[in-house]
């Protein structure tokens, strides 16, 4: 069963009074849940947060399903998101995604066997002048080539 850490619970309590209404805290708290749940939000973790915040479960469910940054499926330790929108597509973002998947031996959107990677194509990340690029968990890597991207990903600890 999922439970937040003690710090996580403290965080939720603080967020609940940080904004004008408690409901505004759902998004930031769900981010925290995702972080502590290995990068995704499971149905149990959603129910847990609703109970912890004492809000209707549908409030959390609504947010979890509407926003793309909440992963509804498990992801690898490194969630690699490659932008394939227009400027990145023109700079080879799509080919780079294929090459990354091939080199790491992982299917797009799936978790690799060693659970290290999930590679997804995403929409514009605001890095159009430094295309192609990828986001690995919270961090941006820009001005990439497929080889450079694969090298960076292999060298992550």
């Amino acid at each position: 069963m999922f439970e937040l850490s003690r710090e996580g619970i403290e965080f939720v309590k603080k967020e609940m009074t940080r904004y004008e209404t408690k409901r505004s805290a759902v998004i930031p708290c769900l981010f925290r849940v995702q972080k502590e749940n290995g990068g995704w939000v499971s149905p149990e973790s959603i129910a847990y947060l609703a109970q912890l915040m004492d809000v209707p479960e549908r409030w959390v469910q609504e947010v979890a399903t509407f926003y793309t940054m909440f992963n509804k499926q498990p992801v690898g330790k490194y969630h690699v998101q490659v932008c394939c929108n227009i400027s990145c597509a023109m700079a080879g973002g799509r080919e780079m995604t294929d090459k990354i998947c091939q080199s790491l031996g992982v299917e797009e959107g799936a978790v690799s066997k060693d659970r290290r990677y999930t590679v997804s194509r995403v929409e514009c990340l605001g890095s159009c002048g430094t295309a192609p690029m990828m986001q690995v968990n919270d961090d941006y890597y820009e001005n990439l080539s497929a080889d450079k991207a694969v090298k960076i990903l292999r060298e992550l600890e």
């Binding site: 998004i27 981010f31 609504e62 159009c128 002048g129």
Partner: protein
């Protein structure tokens, strides 16, 4: 030539910190502004002709005057949910000059008499969020935020809110829904946010660049600001240039600047041997310009509107002759289909259909009548929905087919791209 009014100090790393910002004259305008009448600030912004830099280009000062005078609490909301494909100027501003935005916001909040503001930042910009949170703490410690700011009697609190990956939250009513902790679906206007916004209270939503420009206008005066730009598009603007240019990046130039110069001079032109094919002048929602049109365009609201397109967020995407326009339209349509919030049928269904049609063409399964089906479906999506996302998908679709029809027809007839020689499935 670049005219760095806002971006003057962006190349100085110390500008990020409060100390560096103060050393370069930061918060001096705030000190003066707090001694002015709020109405005088609004009048100055109105006189400057500043237009919203997020995309719609609505006059900022006029927007502020829509607030009702009923003593209700009102909110100021900074739109930093930069998501229009091709746009990355707000990110640069947040990364390099968080205090510039904060100062502009405090002045704006004072002008519109707001005690609380939020900066809604797209969730992917984690680095910007951390920098903003730090800068806000610094501003509180220095007495620029909180109770009785600099002894003026004005009290203002500011906080950051992270989005979670939804383009639609860049639409102001969608953003308000999201800040309330709900799914970010836009609401029908009227009532406009200035009357009924966040928590049904009067709310002003302005873009990062707009709010930063407010302190610039107060520093130099509306008349000085108007020396740059055109009559209808005063001032400078940050343009995010990407695509097939040698030096992509963010460039600040006066509005009315020739697009040809922006590409040739600021961005160093195209790669050797390449020919310009098209330019999207204002983010992927803006109708595309042919190379010929682009060479005649100036970067201001009125010229681009006259050419059937728009300045939008100032995202210039330069496309050379190595690109297949059918393929690029597929990328754009995939985006709008993915980002449609789903509440209005013309948008939910229309963006899906447009994506399917273009996808079938690039997969070699298109029929000749599909080429006309694209503008036909598009026209039924326009002006029929709660927000502008539906139009934002329809407008580029129509323009791509109208201006590059031969590439679409070739693809259908030959079953391969005219440019690339193969499918794009």
């Amino acid at each position: 030539m670049e005219t760095k009014l806002l971006s003057q100090h962006y190349d100085k790393p110390e500008y990020v910190s409060l100390k560096g910002y103060l050393n370069l004259g930061g918060y001096e305008v705030l000190k003066r502004a707090l001694k002015m009448e709020p109405k005088a600030i609004i009048d100055e912004v109105k006189a400057s002709g500043l237009r919203g830099r997020g995309g719609a280009g609505f006059p900022t000062g006029t927007k502020w005057t829509f607030l009702p005078e009923n003593g209700e609490p009102r909110y100021l909301l900074c739109n930093a949910d930069e998501g229009e494909p091709g746009t990355f100027k707000d990110r640069i501003m947040l990364e390099r000059a968080p205090h510039q935005l904060i100062e502009g916001m405090i002045i704006s909040a004072f002008a519109v008499k707001s005690a609380k503001s939020y900066i809604y930042v797209r969730g992917e910009y984690q680095m910007c969020i951390r920098k903003l949170e730090k800068a806000i703490r610094e501003a509180y410690d220095a007495g620029f935020l909180g109770k009785n700011i600099l002894g003026s009697g004005f009290t203002h609190d500011m906080d950051v809110y992270s989005g979670a990956g939804a383009y639609i939250c860049g639409e102001e009513t969608g953003m308000i829904s999201s800040l309330e902790g709900k799914k970010g679906q836009p609401k029908l206007k009227p009532p406009f946010p200035a009357v009924q916004g966040y928590l049904a209270k009067p709310t002003i939503v302005n873009n990062v660049e707009t709010l930063a420009a407010v302190s610039l206008i107060l520093r130099d005066g509306a008349a000085a600001y108007r020396k740059f730009g055109t009559e209808k598009s005063p001032g400078t603007k940050l343009f995010s240039v990407s695509g097939n240019v040698k030096k992509p990046g963010v460039y600040e130039v006066p509005l009315g600047y020739p697009l040809a110069d922006l590409i040739q001079v600021e961005c160093g032109g195209l790669d050797p041997g390449r020919r310009l094919k098209a330019v999207i002048p204002g983010g992927s929602s803006a109708p595309v310009l042919t190379a010929e049109e682009a060479m005649k365009a100036t970067m201001d609201y009125e010229c681009l509107q006259g050419m059937g397109t728009m300045l939008g967020s100032g995202a210039v995407i330069v496309i050379d002759d190595s690109n297949c326009m059918v393929d690029l339209l597929k990328v754009i349509m995939h985006f709008y289909h993915h980002e449609s919030c789903g509440q209005c049928t013309p948008c939910r269904e229309g963006t899906g259909w447009l994506h399917k049609i273009v996808h079938s063409i690039v997969s070699g399964e298109g029929r000749l009548q599909d080429v006309d089906l694209i503008p036909r479906v598009s026209r039924q999506m326009m002006g029929r929905t709660i927000c502008a996302l539906s139009d934002a998908a329809a407008m580029p679709a129509i323009s791509f087919v109208e201006k590059f029809r031969d590439e679409f027809e070739f693809f259908v007839r030959e079953g391969r791209s005219k440019v690339k020689g193969h499918l794009h499935a």
